[in-house]
Each structure stands twice: as C-alpha cells, then as structure tokens.
Subunit: 462 residues, 2 copies
C-alpha cells in the first residue's frame, strides 16, 4: 500500500531533519510493528530514530500539521501492544537517547534521557552508593516505564514510577516543549502534570527527559523463602507482615504450578511444588535480621515450612534469578506453547479469592496457567499458556484472561497493576472507571492532543 500524501510529506520533511535516521527499511519497520505482545503487528510507514528533544519537537510539529500518527517506541518490551502503530504513521524510536545527564548524590536524584534502561542506570550508579528500585521483569527503558506507570518486585517498599519520578521534559503534540515537576521531593505548586504523563502511554506527549528519585544502597540485604500448604496461608502471612509494618523490600508469591515450573527450570533444590513466598529485606545488619525473624515468626503461625535463608549474595542472586525466570520456566513447561499474562491487582484482602478464582477458571478452560504475584501490592500475573499451532489457542487464552479480569474487577480491583492499558485492556476501562470518568479522560486527551496524533488507538476504543 502506498503511504498517503500526508505521510509522504512528513517522511520527506523528516528526512531533511534526520537524514538516514529516518528509515523506511522493511526490516526496521517490522521490528517496530510490535512489542512483546500477541497483538497482530502493524507496520509503521517509517521509523524515526531521534537523538534530541529538538528533533522530537520538530517531528511532532510536522505530524501535528499533517495529522500523521506518532507511536513512541522505547525498548519494545510492552506486553499490551503500546508500541504497535495500529494506524501507521511514524514509529518514534527514542532508544538511542541514552545519556545520563546528571546525578546529584546529595539530593539522591538524577536526570536521564528516556532510552536509558533500568539496568543501564543501575550499572552507572553502582559506585555512587545509590540505586533505582523500580524493576519490571524486562529490560525496559525508563521512558517506557514512565509511560506505563511501571513497577515490579520492589514496589512494595519503594513505590512505583508514580512515586519515583520527580519531573519530566515532555514534547506536546504540536511540538511545544514543557518541563513538569522539579528537583524538590515535594511541591504544592499547581496541577500535577508529572503524574498526568506517568501512565499516559504516549497518548498525551512524548517524554524526552526524566528526573528520578534514587535510593541509597542498603547496608545489608538478605533473602528468604518460605513454603505453605495453602495459598490462603501464604496471603494471610503477607497481610499480617504488612499490617505489622515490617518494611519488606520484596515479597513475591509463586503458586504451586509456577513453583513446580521453577524447580524444574532453575534447578531449585530442597523446595516443594507448593505455594511459596520469596522475600528480600533491606536495612542494617541488625535490622535485616530482625525483619526476617519477625516474618519467620508470622509465617510459622500460618503453618509455613522450610523458612530458608539466603544472606550471601550468590545464593540470593540464584533465588531471584529463578523468580525473574518464572516466565521462561512456565513457557518451558509446555513445548509448542506461547503465553499471555494477566495483570490484575486487587485489595490485598481479596487476593486469595482472586488467585484461587483465576486457578479455577484456568482449570475449567483446559489451559495451563502459572501464577506469580507482587503480593504485597495485591498484584498478580497469571501466565496463560496456549498451544501456538491451534487456530483458536490465542482466542481461548484471551477468553480466560477476560474472565480473570472480570473477577478481579468484581473484587474491587483493576485490570492492570503495572503493564498498562494499551490495546489489550481497553475493553475494561469503562467498566472499571465508569462512563463519566472515562469521558473526563477523553476530554484530557482532547485538550492535549486535539488532532489525535499521539499513539492513536491506545487506551481508548476509537
């Protein structure tokens, strides 16, 4: 198909700005046609590899003028179709904007470009005694993590991107550049535009700089594993730990199927395929010991067995590697299968019900699913495995996904704890927020992007 006149005009003008960093190469376009999701890929008309805010600004002004869609692209790790340019146009690749512009050790903040990944940032920070805690499972870019309000295993202690971002530089739809937030830890100085862009999924503006709050590397870290006869006992343990105010850094749940997969895949010895909590403690030597002992006492009350410690770095790293590989462990359970993952988050008191409900629905569907959960936050992922070669496999998996989300919503939860709405969760938004609140969101979208060029088709249906 020929590109439209408008798209051709943008491509020609963009080539003047970017030279050969404006690509219409087929394989480049293919790489930018999808993320790590299962939506049907769509080719962008061109891919723009931008290097400066000014380039982004000039490009957006062009697209705004011609009404051409722009889909921001970071590391391409989205699970919900965010980077799929469903209406064609320009894929705006920010992955080479990788400068760490400032690190202020005294204030524990830094200013970075959006293409920096969390691992790159932490490598950069290592010798400064600081780290950035938000850790989604993938090698995501920090711009993308802002756009999807990402979190991960450390969120129970350190919060999500909502709490971690002090300020942003954003290019608006028409090319104007604004600064939001600032360098202070708090402020009451007008509308919280920073939080409005966090989680806006590229639909309100393009993030070109990010100022992040950092954390001091704790003096001591230890990890532990404990196992339970029932999922309810594991969750009750977590609820009690949270109420007691023990500042666990990580508290992750693996259900029996997921634990069986991990034992097999990561060769975890000495563990049973039963509901399991992985824990990590940050603090002083004494504090970490005290935290772990307090959790052990609570877990024992709820019938935990096998409270296993891992204080040395190597044992800890093996354990958390196994947790991080949970997705691959699950996939390896069923050769010839692919997976989609739910992202339901519920009030923690409803978590047992939500997880058991998800298991029951999985069994009824005839599909296998494995569950891992950021249980301190009430967020769990049900990795639904479906046979790749059966024509209705993906459809059956989505039907199960929908049923699990519907139950999550009925328990006072949300369809997405950390992956975002993208394409995959649009259908739940009205039910979750109500038509009036959704109308308000649409009016915000219109105020920021009157021509609808920014990541069109995402978050809202039509």
């Amino acid at each position: 198909m020929e590109a439209s006149t408008a798209v051709s005009a943008v491509i020609a003008a963009a080539r003047e700005i970017l030279g050969d960093r404006l690509s219409v190469n087929a394989s480049v376009r293919e790489q930018h046609s999808h993320g790590e999701d299962t939506t049907t890929p769509t080719l962008p008309d061109a891919v723009a590899f931008v290097e400066t805010t000014e380039e982004v600004s000039r490009l957006l002004a062009l697209c705004h003028q011609h009404g051409v869609p722009v889909t921001p692209f970071g590391a391409g790790t989205s699970l919900e179709g965010h980077v799929n340019p469903v209406r064609g146009g320009i894929s705006l690749d920010l992955s080479t904007m990788k400068a760490v512009l400032e690190v202020n050790e005294e204030d524990m903040d830094c200013l970075i470009e959006p293409g920096v990944t969390r691992q790159e940032l932490n490598t950069f920070l290592r010798d400064k005694g600081l780290f950035f805690p938000v850790d989604p499972g993938s090698h995501a870019s920090l711009g993308g993590m802002c756009a999807t309000r990402a979190s991960g295993t450390n969120a129970v202690r350190y919060g999500t991107m909502r709490e971690a971002v002090l300020g942003l530089e954003v290019v608006l739809a028409d090319g104007r550049v604004i600064q939001t937030g600032g360098r202070t830890r708090k402020a009451s100085n007008g509308y919280d535009l920073t939080r409005l862009f966090i989680g806006s999924e590229g639909t309100l503006g393009v993030i070109t700089k990010v100022r992040l709050r950092l954390q001091g590397i704790p003096e001591a870290t230890s990890a532990a594993v404990c196992q339970f006869q029932s999922l309810a006992a594991a969750v009750e343990t977590v609820i009690t730990v949270m109420q007691t105010g023990i500042p666990v850094a990580r508290i992750e749940l693996l259900d029996d199927d997921q634990m069986a997969a991990c034992i097999k895949y990561s060769k975890l010895e000495g563990f049973a395929p039963i509901p399991t909590l992985f824990l990590e403690f940050h603090g002083t030597e004494a504090g970490v010991k005290e935290q772990a002992e307090a959790v052990e006492a609570i877990a024992t009350e709820f019938g935990a067995s096998g409270f296993t410690w891992a204080t040395d770095a190597e044992a800890r790293s093996r354990l958390w590697q196994a947790r991080h590989d949970a997705y691959w462990a699950a996939i390896a359970l069923k050769p010839g299968h692919r997976g989609i993952t739910t992202d339901v988050c519920v009030p923690i008191s409803r978590l047992t019900e939500a997880v058991l409900g998800a298991k029951k629905k999985s069994e009824e569907s005839g599909l296998t699913s494995c569950i891992v959960g950021h249980v301190g936050d009430g967020n769990f992922h049900c990795l639904i495995l479906f046979p790749e070669n059966e024509p209705d496999g993906l459809e059956r998996a989505w039907a199960l996904d929908r049923a699990i989300v519907a139950e999550g919503l009925s328990l006072g939860g949300t369809c997405s704890g950390e992956h975002g709405v993208g394409l995959g969760k649009r259908e739940f938004l009205e039910q979750e927020h109500g038509p009036e609140a959704l109308a308000v969101m649409r009016s915000v979208k219109t105020a920021f992007d009157p021509r609808g060029i920014l990541n069109p088709g995402k978050m809202f249906r039509n």
Copy 2:
C-alpha cells in the same frame, strides 16, 4: 450591594435544595470570607452547608448553569487565601460531611467524607492499630488537605497527600460525579485523575469522598533533639542521614531565632538558642534504638552537642508540642505583630544556602523572622513577623516573602512545598513552570471547568 440576578436565581434554587442550610446571614458570610491568611476578606453572597454528594452535584449544576462562582470551604485553615471567595458567589461548606464510611483493616485503607479532620480520623483509628500520617500544622480537613496537596512533619517517611490518597469521589463543575483511583495500592489503568485533583485547590472539581492509605502504628517510637553550632552542620547531618537510608519518621529544623522563641514560649529546659534538629523514629524497639544511635553518630561527626533522648510518651509529646507551637512561640516574641509564612522547598543540597539567604534578607529588611523546616524534604517556613498597626507592615513582609521565594526558585526550588498557590503564590507560577507548562495547566482548567465557576481567581492570575 445587591446580588446579581444570576446569584439570586442560584440562591433561590439552592434554598429549595438545602432549606436553612443555605445561609445569607452576615456573620456566617463573614466567617467564610477568609482562611488563616492575610488577604483582604471577600464576602460570599451565600454559604451552602452541604451534607451529601447529591447536594453538591445539584448545587454545582445550578452554579454552572448560571455562571456563579463556587468556592469550596473545609476547616478554613488555608494560609494562601484558597477559601476567600474573591469573586463572590457561593461558599460551599463541606465541614459537616464528617462520616468515616469504611475502615478496611486488612487492606489498611479507609473511605471518609471530606470534612473529617486528620485529628478526628486518628482518634477514630486509634483502637485499630492504624494511623494516618500526614500532619499539617493546623486542624485541617482531609478534603482541604487533598485540595492543597498538604504534608507536614511525617512526610519525610510516609509521603504527602500525593502518596496517601488511593482514590476520590469528585463532583465536576457541571454536577457530574466521578470516582477516581480505587482500592488497590497501585494501578496502570488510564490517566491518573486522582493525582490531578490532589493539589488542584478546588479549581477542577469538588472532592466529596476520599479513600486514604493508612499506616500501622509502629511498635516503638522515640524522639531526640540535637543542637549544632551552625545551620550548615545541621543540614549536612540531615543529608547524610537521608543518604544512609535511615528511615527517620520526622526530622525538623529550628533555627536560632525560632529555638529561642520555643525555649521561652514552651519552657524547654536545657537547650541553647542555636540551630536544632527535632527527630522521631518509628519501628521496633531495637530498630528505633539503632536508628537513633546511627543518627547520633552522624550528628556527632558534624559537631552536634546535647543529643537528648525522649523515649517515654510524655517527654516526646512535650517536645513535639513545642515544635507544633513554633508559630505561636514566634508570634509571642513580638507583641503587636502578625505573621505571614513562606513555604519554599528546595533540593536538600541547597537548603543551607536557602535558609541562610532567607535570614540575611530578613535582617536587611528590618523585620524579624523565625525559621522551621521539614528539612528531610528541603521545605522550610520563614515566619515573617510584621507590626500590625504600621500601614506598610504587611507590604514589607510580602516584599521579604517575595525575595525569599525568588531565591528559592533560583536554587532549583518551588514557591510552595505544602501550602499551595491560592492567591498568594500566583505571581510565581509562570517563572517556576515556564509559560508553556502554565498554558497546559490552563488548558486542563478549561477542559474541566469551561465556564470558570470553580474557585475562580485562584492559582492563575485572571
């Protein structure tokens, strides 16, 4: 002056809804003509004492239809003129909406009406082992605290209203009612409308319900005081404490003048009128002891003297009462004087410079000012005392206030850490955010309140 036809129509219709809870009584209107600020009071045309969301909705629909201003009023403790109905119309008093609708102990959240004050909530929660940490100096209502993105002495550990609110019920300008956020600890499910209303100062909607995150009452609490020969040494101590990751619950600075005032007013014995840190630690018995010892070691390195402990509840309460009475202590220094207070917040590395700069400017102005600071957050208040009976007293105080804010901005800070913009800080907003970001804020305002009836005249000039 006669009320306009539009106002008369609203008053007549509102009386149908509210009966004698719609008041045009002169003393009631006078009470609603100002907060705890020094702006020139303006009488509203009428005061509406609302009791339900539906009443708020019907009233706003009326005011929207007739183009009549609505100024929300909670406990009336604003320091920046937020509740001063500068364009007349209706003062919407939500102070009798005081129900605690839900407390979910397992999830550590609650749902309340906006008129509940933080003290009332904490009294209600006391026997549940939970507390709400955000503690501005005054007996503020939680609706007002949402609207101004309030914080206080505990923010360094527990965050501000930005972090404490899970969701809101909001009545929009035209009377539509929306729910924002939800019951989960995190979500990535569309635009963060909750954070947009937090700090919107009544200009985008009227908050009629608030869902708050609560905290577990710590097993142990202790307090300490340490004194320094220089302000710089006190601030360096705080920077090191923060970098070390010691989870102090409170870390408050009083400068020499403020300390002198507090010693005199609160009869604090054994302290010198020099820069002083008040600290509080929350945790386990052992953890609290360890935190305090770690802070003492750091403070000693920076030359602190007189590290005084207060572990028993009575001594602690006496200490923090003195801190809370700092304002009155300062006022008592100079009979016949009133005070205005700055609310500058800077990156913590610039705090010494900001505070010393404020002191120098005070001395040059010939006015006395006392400084207290939420120093872990870089936020400090300079209470500027001015002679009540001198015609240019207030004007001189404002000139000093402006100079202190200007310096705060030049140090990468904000004009307001926690009091909000209201009337008093409007002039700084463009300088702080830049014209483009301010234009974006205005476009948000227009999208939410196209007829400009919600708290007009606040936050933006014109």
